[in-house]
């Protein structure tokens, strides 16, 4: 039995799909928690239908999204609408420390699996609910996707940051991937740990209500302060030097903000003639002539590759990194030295490199103990070994549409 990881004493039940709930459960599973993931019989988690797939051949056991978001979990199938399925579910709830779900509040109420009901079965249960807009409020039953959540949380309006010169033609943007969903998931995990501590004193569980919109709005928190300090509205328009500049063969991300870095910047550029002009003598004048300054700097960057600029900037202590494509990420020495990518061997999908530990804990490390589960892979383990059903009965359960 795994004892050596930070969360190996925690037993988690998960009934969630796609991204936010599964990711919340993943970050806890990867630190040792036991996660039993419930999927609908036959269909499974909708993420199984999401690419990328190896060689673009869709297969429910080979979705990279599913494989990444469900590492270290035990997988069972269970029909929560079937009376016997409900009974089995409640037996599992009885044994769990934590229940993670990301279903619409109306559905959980309909199933009678909302917190009011579950706490009666297990007063120690910590239930973490992750939804688009939370359990209360006028938009509670509104539908979102990643796109909608990212924009309604206020971050889309500022993306791409410090870059746009024609806002009418350059709309607010979403980020690559599922940032709002995954962020909501992580917010749920952090909140769950707080509840674990609370339970140590009180002996009782509680309900955690995560609104994806609030999780995203948390990312523009200074805006709320600034709004009440200085009445500013942040948006995606370019103000001052852009943070991403073109260079030879690509782009460089570069933040020589303020006076701090001016001297270093000038040294890096070789104390150019143009910089000695009155126009660039201090912070205020430089702000007035920033477009001209940008022009000069780009003249310099366009003659150098991102690697060259990166090395020079770092030598002058200027915050700077190249804008890497994925192939460049994989070639980077840094990730090899850190052993960041890990090979996971999956019984159907095969062996692939996956993103590894998001942090290195020296005594109780992040670890892949098992790949993402096949659909219903651990039905026998859970229903027979733990809940006492015989193997033959599993067949009956399957044929009755319970599992």
């Amino acid at each position: 039995m795994n004892d050596k990881q930070a969360l190996s004493d925690l037993k988690i039940l998960e009934y969630s799909h796609l991204a936010s709930g599964p990711f919340c459960a993943k970050v806890m599973a990867d630190l040792g928690a036991e996660v039993v993931k419930i999927e609908e019989p036959g269909k499974g988690d909708e993420a199984r239908n999401h690419g990328p797939f190896p060689e673009d051949r869709p297969h429910p056991e080979k979705s990279a999204l599913f494989l990444h978001l469900n590492t270290n979990k035990l997988g069972i199938t269970l029909n929560l609408r079937h009376p016997l399925g409900k009974k089995l579910f409640l037996q599992l709830v009885e044994q769990a420390d934590i229940f993670i779900e990301n279903n619409p509040p109306k559905l959980m109420q309909e199933l009678e699996f909302d917190y009011e009901h579950l706490m009666k079965i297990n007063p120690r249960l910590i239930m973490t609910s992750i939804t688009s807009f939370g359990q209360t409020g006028p938009y509670r039953d509104y539908k979102t996707t990643e796109l909608i959540s990212f924009h309604m949380g206020g971050v889309g309006y500022e993306t791409p940051i410090n870059q746009v010169t024609d806002p009418e033609r350059e709309p607010p943007l979403k980020a690559a991937g599922h940032q709002a969903n995954l962020l909501a998931g992580w917010t749920g995990a952090t909140a769950t740990m707080a509840a674990v501590f609370a339970r140590q004193t009180t002996g009782r569980g509680q309900h955690i209500d995560i609104s994806e919109q609030d999780a995203v709005a948390n990312m523009i928190r200074p805006n709320f302060s600034r709004y009440s300090y200085a009445h500013e509205i942040a948006n995606r328009e370019k103000r001052g030097l852009p943070w991403i500049l073109p260079c030879k063969g690509g782009h460089i991300s570069f933040s020589p903000q303020g006076d701090r870095f001016w001297r270093g910047l000038m040294e890096m550029l070789g104390n150019p003639e143009w910089a000695r002009n009155e126009k660039f003598k201090d912070f205020t004048t430089r702000r007035e002539h920033v477009d001209e300054m940008e022009g000069h700097i780009i003249e310099w960057t366009m003659q150098r590759t991102k690697e060259e600029i990166f090395e020079k900037a770092q030598a002058h202590h200027i915050p700077c990194f190249p804008v890497n494509s994925m192939s460049e990420v994989f070639r980077a020495e840094q990730f090899k030295a850190r052993e960041f990518f890990v090979e996971i061997d999956h019984p159907v999908a095969g062996k692939f490199q996956f993103p590894g530990a998001p942090y290195k804990l020296s005594t109780s490390p992040w670890q892949i103990r098992r790949p993402a589960p096949l659909l219903g892979e651990h039905n026998e383990e859970i229903f027979c070994k733990r809940l006492g059903y015989k193997r033959e009965e599993l067949v009956k359960l399957r044929m009755n549409g319970v599992i």
């Binding site: 952090t190 209500d209 200085a230 991300s253 192939s327 460049e328 692939f352 942090y359 109780s364």
Partner: protein, 404 residues
């Protein structure tokens, strides 16, 4: 309500700017005693950022960005470039459970405040170190902020307009995101310590964290050798899927159609039943191929309405849609208000101001919010009450610029 979950835990916090300060705001609001160690020799840039000075008047206690991020914490002054300063820091760490920092890689080591040194004086200390790319490896000493680090790991390459340059995310991503994950990692380590008595070092690289949240881009390259490219607001599969202009200046609504049912509902709301029979749009693959044309047609309709009107009409019909909110709109939005993420905090120097609290709502935890500390506000508490120095000793140390 019950006592706070992290009551009795003490954090010596060397964090500055954004990521670690967000982490320790979680810890402080959840009941830990967070003591920021600050110095005029190297003031937190967040305190000095001119853009958010209260009413345009700058001051070390007047920064909105700082005050809205560093609530529920204490502040003491220690100049670590003085040996006596380091000595006092070590005394404080002896009394602490957690140490947090996000200096460039070698800095804590130079002061003799690296994990192995601290473990000798406090064997079960938990130490969190945040860096752009990690405390090991050829780039361990790199200087970088959120916007740059996200670029190193492929995020900006995949974000932006299809015909434009790579784009950074709003909100100086991933700084606050990292803060949330840091709080999780610290609490996980604390949980382990409660069970085993063992502390540990947490080496958290911002870039590695961002990549954990980019599986689509990473795995398409791993599995298929394919570079995912910028596609604006479009999606690999769904269409229509974009932001559309609405009435007013720079007002947009996001709309995403995920299945046939929603597509038909959209056509009904816009009153374009003929789109359902149009060859260009009648099946999901054709819709996706012709989405630029479809986007233009949809925008003719959205431009006649406000973004709120579009949201209400489409949500009523079961279609995911909502405005791309700017901060002012968000603050005024009835749903966002009902969630009470933003609260008013009274501050001794700038008075009552708005700050974002912690996003979760717990049924059994009421986070504790107190105003961000004035610079050095708790010097007397830390040096006299906690470390037992006399008034005279403290005065002397102030003169020597140790308490500085």
């Amino acid at each position: 309500m019950s006592p706070l979950p992290l009551e009795g835990i003490r954090v010596t916090d060397f964090g500055w700017i954004l990521a670690v300060p967000h982490c320790t705001a979680w810890l402080g609001a959840l009941g830990a005693e967070v003591i920021r160690v600050e110095s005029m020799a190297r003031p937190d840039l967040g305190r000095l950022y001119p853009g958010s000075a209260a009413d345009g008047i700058p001051g070390i206690n007047r920064s909105g960005g700082f005050n809205g991020l560093n609530y529920s914490k204490k502040s003491c002054n220690l100049n670590l470039s003085q040996p006596k300063g380091v000595e006092l820091a070590r005394e404080l760490i002896k009394l602490s459970d957690i140490v947090t920092e996000n200096f460039t890689s070698g800095v804590m080591g130079r002061f003799g405040l690296d994990y192995l040194s601290l473990k000798k004086i406090n064997p079960d200390i938990i130490m969190l170190s945040g860096t752009p790319l990690g405390k090991t490896g050829p780039l361990k000493d790199s200087v970088g902020w959120g916007p740059n680090t996200q670029s190193y790991v492929g995020m900006t390459y995949m974000t932006g307009y299809p015909d434009g340059s790579p784009g950074g995310l709003g909100g100086t991503w991933p700084d606050y995101m990292v803060g949330v994950a840091m709080a999780f990692a610290v609490m996980s380590a604390l949980h382990y310590r409660n069970r085993t008595g063992e502390g540990q070092h947490i080496d958290l690289a911002m870039g590695e964290l961002v990549m954990t949240m980019l599986p689509e881009g990473v795995m398409d390259y791993v599995m298929n050798g394919r570079e995912r490219y910028r596609m604006g607001n479009h999606d690999e599969v769904m269409a229509p899927h974009n932001c559309y202009r609405c009435q007013g200046e720079d007002k947009w609504v996001a709309i995403a159609v995920t299945n046939e049912e929603e597509w038909q509902a959209l056509c009904q709301v816009i009153d374009k039943p003929e789109w359902r029979r149009d060859e260009r749009f009648s099946d999901p693959l054709s819709r996706w191929k012709h989405q630029d044309e479809l986007d233009r047609l949809i925008e003719i309709w959205t431009k006649e309405h406000t973004h709120y009107e579009v949201m209400e009409m489409l949500q009523k019909a079961g279609v995911p849609a909502g405005p791309s909110f700017d901060t002012g709109e968000l603050i005024d939005d009835p749903h966002f208000q009902s969630r009470r993420l933003c609260l008013e905090m009274d501050h001794p120097e700038v008075g009552p101001r708005m700050a974002a609290g912690l996003p979760p709502k717990w049924s059994g935890i009421e986070p504790h919010y107190s105003h961000a500390p004035l610079f050095g506000e708790h010097n007397s508490y830390v040096f006299h009450d906690l470390l037992g120095l006399s008034e005279e000793e403290i005065v002397q140390l102030v003169e020597e610029k140790v308490i500085y």
